[in-house]
Symmetry: C2
């Protein structure tokens, strides 16, 4: 802190402090005595909760004699070094995250693609059993690999990682979520999990990956690898590291969905508890780097050098159209879509929470059971994906298909599957595809006649439950893509039911469906809006998307909370809410600590303080005395840091 | 306050307080004594500044005995009433602002359109003098009207209004900026100013209009018109009114550019000094209403019921294209564009500031001079718009024109002007058009051969200076559109110079040019990005736009500040910056007040306090004593309010 604070102060000088830790901010309207108490409340609450090894981070710059002195004797050069490093880090984050994101896409497309090509060839040769054997075994192998590395090397990689990062940005430091090991396992695990046809996404893991990269860059060097360059030391404080992590998570979404602006807004709306305008500017910079690098890399692939990744453009699910004529009578079905979407979204959240609770019981039994669970899910998934299409009746290809029909191999709207030549299996076109291709297919226009009601219903129900049951397994699993695909099928189903009474084609209904389910489960507004725009590249739909998001979020909020908050609670992170609950007004520190309450008088013996510091691990203590001494706890923190830094001996 | 505070508290309960007044926030890290002092600093600084009648607003909810009591005895029903009214107001704001915005567009298109039709007919009959007479006189009349109503009815309508609103949201209450009179004059004045072919925009005035509507709705009824409904009284506090005004300004941009998401982000990034996530959600709601209503209204116009407004779609300057193949070698020119754009932007800002200073000298001479000034500008503008096209040589129409060529009348890329049949005047297609049509023309693709270098250069230089000289006149004038059109011509010029060495067509260069100039003068990032996207509906360009914005903002920041801040300073608003300047750390209240410093002891005689309250107009006083009494100044404010409210007699 001593070394870091002058630049940190410089940051305060050059940046505008737009936000504050939230409970504390609320409390700061009381006077200092109450305030110092409340700070400690949060920390003691954390210590008191039955979670081991979670500490709270110090995001405040507390002004006091020690700090002011630091600030006074800092030099211009230090400030320059600090600012230079800050932007360099943002650039590096953008660069690395976009490279990882691109590699991620490339790997998934090629691994999953290869799998589908091989199986489809078998299907063509009508060797169905062999096809299933290969399909399911490859899925099994991939899932097993993902769960093995997760379970044995880095258990904290399980799940999406967004809740962990969100908690970190709120000031809750869970152990090892940002280690190098975590990073590698997260990337590789996510690739194999997604390619194993599990109904899981890659966006969440990308956010965690981005945050990881940022945190590793910002950890102020590493003694272990001998990286002890002075310039790095500036970042050896929670505050600057938090800012980098925020940029990292923005970059994550930007890279996962090729949605730079959406990424920034996601970080702002969903992830960050602390925000300042200067951070917006830096996050924008990072996201811009991601956008530019991705565009350049995709430019390379357009010339077909990327194997089955082929022509992955900058827009993932393009639904552009010159003009979308929708009219007043299209609004009622859209409103309905929003309402039901909101209900489904909240249902999704509560079911997911319950399933996670059950999974926790299983996972507690030990690593072996975790892996068994993952394998079971994989087998079930394979059976469903391969089995369900047989229910659907083969349909003759349309006379003037918008695409080749029927198709063999990995992509294509009209899958041949088991059908006779000239026929296609509409359910296979959804199930027997990567999630991305399924979404593209659902969003596609001029395919209103492609699907049967029954198929769409089956697909929707299957996706809904598969995604719920797939999330909790011990592997890196995202929620965004599953929700999008489920919502798309739901929206398309509604579109089919509304039929020709609406001027919107079913593809657009699918887009609105995804919007409604996303709004119902993630509860974001502007960021989702922009992300959907950047995914589908259709601005004319904006009014309807906003309408749907409004309705679905409002409806869903009536039932339960944002899915990430639910997961965070079930993980037991002591997330500090934006405002103190009314009942908290009556609480004192004594009420919330579990252990014996360590407190200080305004005037306290040094021996006493040292003793307490030695015997406890806390960084904050209530001072029950008159305010003139209320800076005492802060001083203690600083001195502890300084002491440790200078003497190197841990008190 | 007494009546308002329980719901205000309810708001705190239901919403997350994400932001804080900035200097105060910075100060709150000192202890209370310092803090109360700093609060007062800001207020006394305002009183001390040589501006009459500017007061600071109370945005803090200060907790104290009185307030807590209020909060305890509030009833569920009140909270419900409050929340219900809050959302109703947001809905009304969205509805009204979108109606005004639509009416605004309609009026301008029809008035200006009519003017151009008549003049063009004259031109066709080769009665050039008569044409000029009609053109210039109608412009003159419109400008005169605008400046007359502004100067005599509501002088505070002059200019864009964004600085005023920004200052208000920062806590600076300039007199009469939100009166009903202001609202009407702003709307009518803006329409006539824009239709008078002055190089001024309508976005700024729309923001002010939106803020006005919000503030009037949120002023808690009006005794004058007998609107004293109890439910309205809840909003009789600065805090809730501020939130409504924020939503209003978001709605303003949303309506002006049909860019709902951009509007929300503009309010977040540029306007608001205080922000909380709940406000994002409400601003989004307001913007969504705007988007939906506008879409519906435009639906009506598509059937051609809106006269010359014709088919004004939801996207203003559509540059969609299926695929934009740009490659690595397109990046250097784009970077150059950004750098020069940044320099031009900062030059624009500083020139504008200087011109405003000169104008202030003229305007101080009295209303008459103000109006003379406006008239001169109008005459100059007319002469330039009508005169300069004669410089350009007539060019033969292209063999396969993308549009009819040559055209008579208001719109069209290939204006006939004075040319012989089969020929067009490229300069006239820019000058002899509304700004919107000029922008459409500059952004249009497949028109790379349309313009001569000389014409583009002339147009750029003329726009650059016209917009600088037009802003300061006594009429509602916006800056957005002028900057966009200037930037577009600049970008297109660069595109022409780069020529075939780039795969980007000149239209896209024009878009990037606008982006660079906007970035260089307004210094926003995400919001500009989204606004440009929503204006042009071309997501594939996003990486380049982000790149340009990054560069131009960075370059421009090296020279001077954001244009609105410059204008605010020149208007003398005591805007509280995000952070305290280093030297402020040494200041005491005594240093900043001009008059005799009124201060209280911790323990003070009531008589004394009442006396001071009677003799001064301030709401805050430093308490130089031990903190236990530091709530005193707050109590005073409340009691004053309560007293006034209950006894009705002004102490």
């Amino acid at each position: 802190m001593a070394a870091a604070s002058p630049p940190a102060e410089a940051a305060v000088e050059e940046e505008s402090l737009l936000s504050q830790p939230l409970l504390q901010q609320h409390e700061e309207q009381h006077h200092t005595l109450r305030r110092s108490a409340s700070n400690t409340t949060s920390q003691l609450a954390i210590v008191g909760s039955n979670l081991c090894a979670i500490e709270s981070l110090d995001y405040e710059i507390m002004e006091n004699a020690l700090f002011k002195q630091d600030w006074r004797n800092n030099r211009k050069i230090q400030i320059f070094q600090y600012i230079f490093m800050k932007w360099t880090f943002c650039f590096l984050i953008g660069l690395l995250v976009s490279l990882v994101g691109f590699f991620n896409n490339l790997a998934v497309e090629n691994i999953a693609g290869l799998k589908f090509v091989v199986t489809s060839d078998m299907m063509l040769a009508r060797r169905f059993v062999a096809a299933f054997a290969i399909f399911s075994s490859s899925n099994f192998a991939l899932t097993l690999f993902a769960s093995l590395i997760t379970a044995f090397i880095a258990p904290e990689c399980a799940g999406s990682g967004i809740p962990e990062v969100k908690a970190y940005l709120n000031g809750v430091d869970a152990p090892a979520i940002f280690s190098l090991r975590t990073l590698l396992v997260k990337i590789i695990g996510s690739i194999s999990a997604v390619s194993s046809s599990l109904n899981v996404g890659k966006a969440g893991p990308m956010v965690h990956t981005g945050a990881c990269i940022a945190a590793i860059l910002g950890q102020g060097g590493s003694k272990k690898y001998g990286l002890t360059w002075k310039w790095l030391r500036f970042f050896k404080n929670d505050r600057d590291r938090r800012d980098l992590v925020t940029c990292g998570s923005a970059a994550g979404i930007a890279a996962a969905f090729r949605a730079p602006v959406g990424g920034v807004l996601f970080a702002l709306e969903e992830m960050a508890s602390w925000w300042r305008s200067a951070l917006l500017w830096r996050a924008f910079f990072t996201a811009a780097i991601v956008a530019i690098v991705l565009r350049a890399l995709i430019d390379v692939c357009l010339s077909g050098k990327c194997g089955l990744f082929g022509k992955g453009g900058l827009i993932m699910y393009d639904v552009t159209s010159a003009d979308i004529p929708y009219h007043l009578w299209d609004v009622p079905p859209v409103i309905l879509l929003g309402v039901v979407g909101g209900i489904l979204g909240s249902l999704y959240n509560s079911l997911l929470e319950k399933v996670l609770r059950i999974y926790n019981l299983i996972n507690e039994k030990g690593t072996f059971f975790k892996i068994i669970l993952a394998c079971c899910i994989s087998i079930c998934t394979s059976c469903l994906l391969f089995g369900l299409p047989w229910i659907a009746s083969c349909r003759p290809c349309p006379l003037d298909p918008s695409e080749p029909c029927p198709t063999i191999g990995r992509s294509g709207n009209y899958k041949k599957f088991q059908c006779a030549p000239g026929h296609y299996n509409d359910l296979a076109s959804l199930f027997f595809n990567t999630n991305d291709d399924a979404i593209k297919n659902l969003f596609s226009k001029n395919t209103d006649a492609e699907f049967q009601h029954s198929s769409m219903l089956i697909f929707f129900v299957t996706c809904f439950f598969l995604s719920i049951f797939s999330y909790g397994i011990v592997a890196p699993t995202g929620l965004f893509v599953p929700v999008i695909v489920t919502g798309a099928s739901y929206g398309r189903l509604v579109g089919m039911l509304v039929g020709s009474r609406s001027t919107l084609n079913h593809g657009l209904f699918a887009v609105l469906g995804s919007a409604s389910l996303l709004g119902g489960s993630m509860r974001m507004t502007v960021s989702l809006c922009v992300i959907i725009l950047e995914l589908t590249n259709n601005l004319l739909l904006l009014p309807l998307i906003m309408l749907v998001l409004l309705i679905s979020k409002t409806v869903a909020d009536a039932f339960n909370g944002n899915i990430y908050d639910l997961i965070m609670r079930s993980k037991g992170f002591p997330y500090l809410e934006a405002h103190a609950e009314p009942y908290m007004r009556q609480l004192t520190v004594g009420d919330v600590v579990t252990g014996p309450l360590q407190l200080f008088q305004g005037i306290e013996k040094v021996a006493n303080i040292v003793h307490v510091l030695k015997t406890t691990g806390h960084n904050g203590f209530p001072v029950v005395d008159v305010p003139p001494f209320s800076e005492a706890p802060v001083l203690m923190i600083l001195q502890r840091r300084v002491w440790e830094m200078e003497t190197g001996l841990k008190i």
